[in-house]
Symmetry: C2
Subunit: 333 residues, 2 copies
């Protein structure tokens, strides 16, 4: 076995991390969740994560602006902190800069960083700028704080599955990006959801401050089904979701209707939604709905956790069940 492609990204990470023997004595959660977790003082944990964006893999300079790219680079990392129920505090940003990148491009990229830092009260506390002649890349490491920590482990049969916001907008937006005609308002909305996603920091805060017994949580970056599989694997359970409950934006519905596009590949497998996917026992639903209503934030029950280990079923609108396959999400290798 010598090709990374044959292993896949998740297998590779598992293989490499299993080689690492040293674990700090106070580690709550090491490699394998959205963030690593460890206490810094009584009642407070730090949650940390790192993420890279590489030109032509994660973004194209021809289809985004430097400002939006800066906002998205940080938002993706903020979403990892939100996935743990944390509050983002500090980021470290590395830029690998080829010659074609100008100072004014970097000024605008930093304007994007600045927008997110101000909006979410996150400090850009350090970084590294290196020459990288052959490719432009951005690496963001993030440190947040969490009193209660939500992980992928802990979902139990009978728990209900919820998701914030709407699904599939980002991946449909990505598809529309490659088309020439995109002047319509709906197009702009969907493309905006792809280029300039909103990390669900507010929603994570609602959950963290509530007394709701959130049993597991993840942010959707690889697509609903794949990220639900991550929860099922970590929690050793299965899941059933309902086709007709998957929340979709009016914009997505209209474009799919008009252009005769099947919405389900986008809703189920579209990447980079950056919505929160989480589970809780039925007795917490009333409280959850009240809190989200108060904050004018969208939350939808899309299914329930089942006994069948590591199997994700889709209940179609005709009542029949379909097993959803576990893919590798966005496997770029």
């Amino acid at each position: 076995m010598s090709k990374i492609k044959e292993l896949g990204e998740f297998e590779l990470i598992h293989r490499l991390s299993s080689r690492l023997k040293f674990r700090a004595p106070n580690t709550v959660l090491g490699i394998g969740d959205d963030c690593a977790v460890y206490p810094v003082k009584s009642g407070t944990n730090e949650v940390i994560s790192t993420d890279a964006l590489v030109e032509d893999i994660h973004f194209k300079l021809s289809t985004t602006t430097p400002e939006a790219l800066g906002r998205k680079a940080l938002s993706a990392s903020l979403s990892d902190i939100a996935a743990m129920g944390g509050v983002p505090k500090r980021v470290l940003v590395t830029l690998g800069i080829p010659k074609k990148i100008s100072v004014s491009f970097l000024d605008r990229l930093y304007a994007g960083f600045n927008t997110i830092c101000n909006r979410y009260k996150v400090e850009l506390a350090g970084g590294d700028t290196v020459s990288s002649p052959k490719c432009f890349f951005i690496n963001v490491s993030i440190i947040g704080e969490a009193k209660r920590v939500f992980t992928r482990q802990g979902a139990r049969p009978g728990d209900l599955i919820f998701v914030t916001g709407t699904l599939g907008d980002s991946s449909l937006g990505l598809k529309l990006l490659s088309k020439k005609k995109r002047e319509a308002k709906d197009h702009k909305f969907l493309i905006g959801r792809h280029l300039d996603p909103t990390p669900r920091v507010l929603e994570a805060g609602i959950l963290a401050r509530s007394r709701i017994n959130i049993t597991s949580m993840i942010d959707i970056s690889d697509g609903l089904v794949q990220d639900l599989y991550h929860i099922c694997k970590a929690s050793k359970v299965g899941a059933r979701i309902h086709e007709d409950r998957l929340p979709r934006s009016r914009e997505l519905s209209r474009i799919c209707d008009r252009d005769q596009i099947d919405p389900f590949p986008f809703l189920l497998n579209g990447g980079e939604d950056y919505e929160l996917l989480f589970t809780l026992p039925p007795d917490g639903v009333k409280n959850l709905k009240r809190q989200f209503l108060k904050a004018k934030a969208l939350v939808t029950q899309i299914g329930e956790i089942t006994l069948k280990p590591k199997k994700v079923l889709l209940e179609k609108s005709d009542g029949r069940d379909k097993v959803l396959p576990q893919l590798e999400g966005f496997n770029h290798f």
Copy 2:
């Protein structure tokens, strides 16, 4: 102004970071030192930093092994923590992986990470592996803890300047790497100092636990003179160093003698020494020497801090002073 090269790396960082408005209320030190610093509980600070290595800029796959590359990538980051007087705790590692990199290469790279993690009790707590078709890069973010924090600011006229270990080995080793003949033991030592540097975590620990009044500290990554300029700029002082006091290894001396190489460019401006450069008032010297002797660690007084702001002088062996220019260190742009 549109070229990064015209600005230089340090000006660029200054320009970009000045655009960032949000600063966390408890920040002790933000962008601009080896690490950012903030308290996590009474008496304990966290120190954080990030660093990238890009193929053909910071390393060549033809002249190193995956294991040594893994060790060096972490050691360079550990050195940043040591420079603040901190104890390294956790690292996050991002790999940007082109197709030519095999799984067995990554296994060996991680074996290198594992060596350093075990040796210094550092946990590899998370990471990201991304496809990067055009270039191989490694980004390491590191989190350490420090009770006392040593920064670049605080050196005062009359303070004495010390350096750990020996200077110039790494840069002479880099020069030797490009030569074909390198079988001699001295060559191997110097090349090893370049490919596999030792972060001065032990020495930083001695200083941090001592009662010595360390007034400023930095690790030498850009070369002695440039990093001394960083201290002088941050502390608003000048410095005089003495040509005949610069500590050099026997290996460097022998190679320079035999091959008629001028050692001073290596001693003064060679990058990646990863030695600690620090200042203290004269009354701490006795204690310092005793502690380093006990630990069998090398430390050498090389000069003193002067009033003349931001000027670094070299006292030559004939007694004359020479102003040393401030360069950009390793400016890869």
